[in-house]
Symmetry: C2
Subunit: 245 residues, 2 copies
């Protein structure tokens, strides 16, 4: 059984309170970096893996995408996405990303935001996306950074005054399941090393184009000084790759 945490009532409600759920992409600290790595979307066929509320799908529509397929395992997320989207160019599919079957070479661009660290095998995803993309197609995705996922605790080390002393790393080379806590719920995530993310991508036939370990946008840092802790350790990893034609 694939994890479908977002169909859990309490989790879904708590997720709905997050800035990224209420404000959409502008409420997501890493969006400006993700957006900068996206190719031109005009007339493109776009696949969004783990589309959630559909924010990225609607962004692609705004950019003139020819068609968009959003995939998510959670029926509740897709209900929300459908209620927020009114455009015949988009199709939402309820499916586990790992088991998705679509026509080969039917997309120009595949994107995914913060979904793959919930999935056990990243290699399978790479091979699937490579197959689904047309030659020259681009793959842009974000995950929680290996520095962030190494320990199950996913939290700072606190000093004697309760201050954030530093970010602790441990078990980095031990890939696999992490029983983490997110929005006051148990959530299974998978830790992988940076090497695994990059080598699986390259091994599937992709050419790496760019890497970003995003900082909060400057205006966010000014408005929320506590976000400067984000400069102390990387939380997200964004990779952009191309299926060489």
């Amino acid at each position: 059984m694939k994890q479908n945490k977002y169909d859990d009532n309490a989790f879904f409600e708590a997720y709905g309170q997050m800035a990224r759920s209420v404000q959409g992409l502008e409420g997501a600290g890493e969006w400006h970096a993700f957006k900068a790595l996206l190719p031109e979307l005009q007339d493109k066929r776009v696949l969004d893996l783990g589309c959630g509320y559909g924010w990225h799908c609607r962004y692609a529509l705004e950019q003139g995408a020819g068609s968009v397929v959003g995939v998510d395992i959670s029926e509740r997320m897709l209900q929300q996405a459908r209620s927020m989207t009114d455009d015949p160019r988009v199709k939402y599919i309820q499916h586990a990303i790992e088991d998705l079957e679509l026509h080969s070479e039917s997309f120009d661009v595949a994107i995914s935001s913060l979904a793959f660290h919930y999935i056990a095998s990243f290699g399978d995803i790479c091979r699937k996306v490579f197959k689904l993309l047309k030659p020259g197609g681009e793959f842009v995705f974000s995950v929680e950074h290996p520095v962030f996922t190494a320990r199950s605790e996913q939290d700072w080390h606190y000093g004697e005054q309760g201050e954030r002393a530093h970010w602790p790393i441990d078990h980095y080379q031990e890939e696999g399941l992490r029983d983490t806590s997110f929005l006051a719920e148990h959530v299974i995530k998978y830790h992988r090393t940076l090497s695994t993310y990059l080598n699986e991508l390259i091994g599937s036939g992709f050419t790496l184009k760019a890497v970003n370990e995003p900082l909060p946008a400057e205006e966010l840092l000014l408005r929320h000084p506590e976000m400067s802790d984000e400069l102390r350790r990387p939380m997200f990893l964004i990779l952009a790759a191309v299926k060489s034609s």
Copy 2:
């Protein structure tokens, strides 16, 4: 003035006691991973940046390299290298890597072991190596991992019993100079993010081929159980790239 720590007497003597100085490549925990990323060296023209005692140069000669140029800023390191090497195919040059001027497209393979984190601009190195390599040439190098270089202390966080509690990260996004301690001496190193290493390489025209965050070889782990701490955080980063022809 470029840092030339290895011509400092005390530092040079202390370095001479390290396993990698006494035993050569087999005494270096990451060598098995580095070696695995090297291309076939038979008849190749090889450049070694920061060659030190010349271990990698002699390895290239053993593998049948046509010629080898070893570059190091330290005269004492090169004296040692020359005294250990007796082969007309090798040439040792005393020079700062950053200022090296050689004929364009004159090498098939460029390697560097644990030298670039002493140099301020990694982008300059990438552009230089790209120019020196022939089309299709390969570039394989190791550096201290960004997880390792982020804090100047470069040390574990210790618990109340003096045990290694975890590896602390801080200041990750603040690139630049780190005044570190190595072999009981002050040594200037430069911290860069993983994104900078990869994007500079790609931006210079290289295609990334493979990434390795090496673990100690299994026989080393068996002989030295204390080395299992190396599984807890990455210490080195090895990148292999090709100048696409």
